[in-house]
């Protein structure tokens, strides 16, 4: 008796609420055109803080699509997650009636770095300004980093496996991998991803302790990894949710397999120990490729972590050479997040969304605001580069020391394996 073949984990839907677009189409247009939307922070109460430049999501009206019952009990980061989940499910053509037919077949996995800071700040101001009786009861759930997973599953009636990954910024990739594992274990659909809303006074003050944060005031110069002008990273809000689905379930309902989540690995090398991250990132890449059954030469594009600290940028370039050999200096590398900012856990999920879209369009998006690369990398700058893309490698590191690598394979190109 032979073992039943494991279901492959497919990406069938993408939902994006990002600084450069509040729909997947507008996000991809701005991403492949290399538009930078980094700008001076305009949120209320932030003007006097030394952090001046970020990637804000503007023109997003949560009340347009989310019922008041959910709005009053959730933070902005969950508003992004609810909206992105709606977009991803719509993109996958999974309507409410489809998921209601078997609610136990659908689950949710999210990652979050900062949780609901703005909601928490408001309620803590009530506490210290007026007293404990003026703190609303939803403070008990809104700040929590599990809130988005819970609220998506409640709002949609999903009863399948639900979880939250708390593993630093790289958790965005770990969430997608966790979703793929749940699918391989037998769940039909996992709505997976990450959103963040770290641009409110309390949340921003928390970030000021990060030595890697860019305090540069000129948006065009604030986030330029892999250059002599690298001076840290710019934070961002927003994020993306993907529909990760068993290939069998997708094919049964006639849905298009956009990509496969083919391999993943994570390592840990310690907070802000960027030189050491070289070995950790290289090992994550090796193990992810091994799980995917992918030779280094098969990687057609790399979405870099691109922290923007010289020591970290050097470690990432060297890690690619360590893990991919000579191919590491030849493979096209991109970091579209230099145009949107780095949304903590959301950043590698947006990169994963961009990687799927890049494979579909045969186009590597460029790295905005970056010229004159000072590392041995083929970084795509200026304008998008046409290329046949069958396999993408997405990298992420967290400020607290997590390193992750995710291998995505193009759906049509890998359908017959």
């Amino acid at each position: 008796m032979s073992e039943p073949k494991e279901a492959r984990a497919a990406v069938t839907g993408i939902g994006v609420v990002a600084p450069n677009g509040t729909s997947t189409d507008t996000f991809w247009k701005a991403t492949h055109e290399g538009v930078s939307v980094l700008d001076r922070i305009s949120r209320e109460g932030c003007a006097d803080l030394p952090l001046k430049v970020a990637g804000e999501v503007r023109g997003f009206e949560p009340a347009d699509t989310i019922d008041g019952r959910f709005l009053v009990q959730t933070d902005r980061y969950t508003h992004f997650a609810l909206a992105a989940a709606d977009l991803a499910l719509e993109d996958a053509r999974l309507g409410q009636a489809d998921t209601d037919a078997d609610p136990y077949a659908v689950g949710v996995v999210t990652a979050a770095g900062s949780g609901g800071g703005e909601f928490g700040q408001r309620e803590l101001q009530q506490l210290w300004g007026k007293g404990s009786r003026f703190v609303g009861p939803y403070q008990s759930i809104a700040w929590f980093y599990a809130a988005s997973t819970g609220q998506i599953s409640i709002r949609r009636g999903f009863k399948g496996p639900c979880s939250v990954v708390a593993s630093d910024e790289a958790g965005g990739l770990d969430a997608l991998a966790h979703a793929a594992r749940a699918v391989r274990r037998g769940t039909d659909v996992i709505v997976a991803g990450a959103t963040e809303a770290p641009l409110a006074p309390y949340s921003m003050v928390c970030q000021l302790g990060y030595g890697e944060l860019s305090l540069e005031t000129d948006p065009e110069r604030a986030y330029r990894p892999f250059t002599e002008g690298a001076r840290g990273f710019v934070p961002a809000e927003g994020g993306a949710m993907l529909v990760v689905e068993s290939e069998r379930a997708a094919r049964e309902r006639g849905a298009e397999v956009r990509a496969y989540v083919a391999g993943h690995a994570a390592t840990f090398t310690g907070a802000s120990r960027w030189t050491e991250s070289r070995a950790g990132l290289a090992e994550a890449v090796r193990r992810a490729l091994d799980e995917a059954g992918c030779a280094p030469e098969e990687v057609d594009v790399v979405f870099a972590d691109a922290l923007g600290i010289p020591e970290a940028d050097r470690a990432e370039a060297l890690a690619l050479a360590d893990a991919l050999g000579a191919h590491g200096t030849r493979v096209p590398v991109t970091a579209p997040k230099t145009g949107t900012g780095r949304g903590y856990c959301a950043a590698p999920v947006l990169d994963s969304a961009a990687a799927v879209l890049a494979m579909e369009h045969g186009l590597i998006p460029p790295t905005p605001n970056v010229q004159d690369v000072c590392h041995d990398l083929d970084l795509v700058t200026g304008r998008a580069r046409p290329a046949e893309l069958r396999t993408a490698l997405v990298l992420s590191r967290g400020l607290m020391g997590s390193n992750s690598a995710l291998v995505l394979r193009h759906g049509a190109a890998h359908a017959q394996q």
């Binding site: 008041g68 019952r69 009053v72 009990q73 009786r133 009861p137 939803y138 759930i141």
Partner: protein
């Protein structure tokens, strides 16, 4: 000041504290069938409404207030409490 809590005040609190919008003239009738739960007000939402009322009226509500099943039961209980305290 009239210490009684009206249906209109409850409808406003349901909207601001629990995010549930129901027209005041429909509130009692619609609330009879399935109670707060069917209207979409969960236990934390009702807790928030009770807390807001206590702050506005400067008086504690009985513990049973947040366990009332329907808007009519809720109004009867809190108004009798406010009457007794007046």
């Amino acid at each position: 000041m009239n210490a009684q809590i009206t249906v209109e005040e409850l409808a406003t609190l349901m909207r601001t504290a629990a995010g549930v919008t129901v027209a005041p003239e429909e509130l009692l009738e619609r609330g009879e069938a399935g109670g707060f739960e069917a209207l979409g007000v969960d236990s934390l939402g009702l807790l928030g409404i009770v807390g807001e009322l206590e702050n506005r009226h400067g008086t504690p509500m009985p513990p049973d207030a947040e366990r009332c099943r329907t808007p009519r039961q809720f109004l009867d209980l809190v108004n009798s409490t406010l009457m007794a305290g007046a």
